[in-house]
Amino acid sequence: DAGVTQSPTHLIKTRGQQVTLRCSPKSGHDTVSWYQQALGQGPQFIFQYYEEEERQRGNFPDRFSGHQFPNYSSELNVNALLLGDSALYLCASSPSKTGGIETQYFGPGTRLLVL
């Protein structure tokens, strides 16, 4: 079992550009959440996808959007990048039918640097 995988591992963009990050959930997991972890901070919840729809959202602007595909994989898109978007972006997956949030597995993250 590969667990949660994310791509790319590192990314460098410039201000104003757009970026897409990808996540493949752990086998058997159908719910995907995205978190942003700025340097020296804890992860902050961005949003969660289930059944290809955004189920809930944290306090992030509309520049942050996402998508979930029928195979449960997910993308995080960020438009009009700002320097403050530089962070580690974590994907976490969990099964909707069994257990609670403690069943959530985190991926290794994508480190985004905005210049």
Binding site: V4, G42, P43, F45, Q48, S94, Q104, F106
Partner: protein, 114 residues
């Protein structure tokens, strides 16, 4: 809105020393509480959790945490740390709204010296 505070940002201990990391939260309702650990170069992993019942919960690798409702605290403890415990530790909560989303503290970097 809920929040989690971890007041120790960086802790340095010698092997065999005892560990206590502080965590306080702010929320008016019922919460589920967690400690996560992130070893260097590895994913965030669940260390232990508290949902209800016995306020003293035990996790993996000899860690335990105590929930004190009156103090809104959930401190992490280990009687004797090892060099392999060097990692970043995050306290987190889930509110009882069923959102299945975590609110994390800012983390504590633990460095254990051999």
């Amino acid at each position: 809105a809920q929040s989690v505070s971890q007041h120790n940002h960086h802790v340095i201990l010698s092997e065999a020393a005892s560990l206590e990391l502080g965590c306080n939260y702010s929320y008016g309702g019922t919460v589920n509480l967690f400690w996560y650990v992130q070893y260097p170069g590895q994913h965030l992993q669940l260390l232990l959790k508290y949902f209800s019942g016995d306020p003293l919960v035990k996790g993996i690798k000899g860690f335990e945490a105590e929930f004190i409702k009156s103090k809104f605290s959930f401190n992490l403890r280990k009687p004797s740390v090892q060099w392999s415990d060097t990692a970043e530790y995050f306290c987190a909560l889930e509110t009882n709204t069923g959102r299945r989303a975590l609110t994390f503290g800012s983390g504590t970097r633990l460095q254990v010296q051999p």
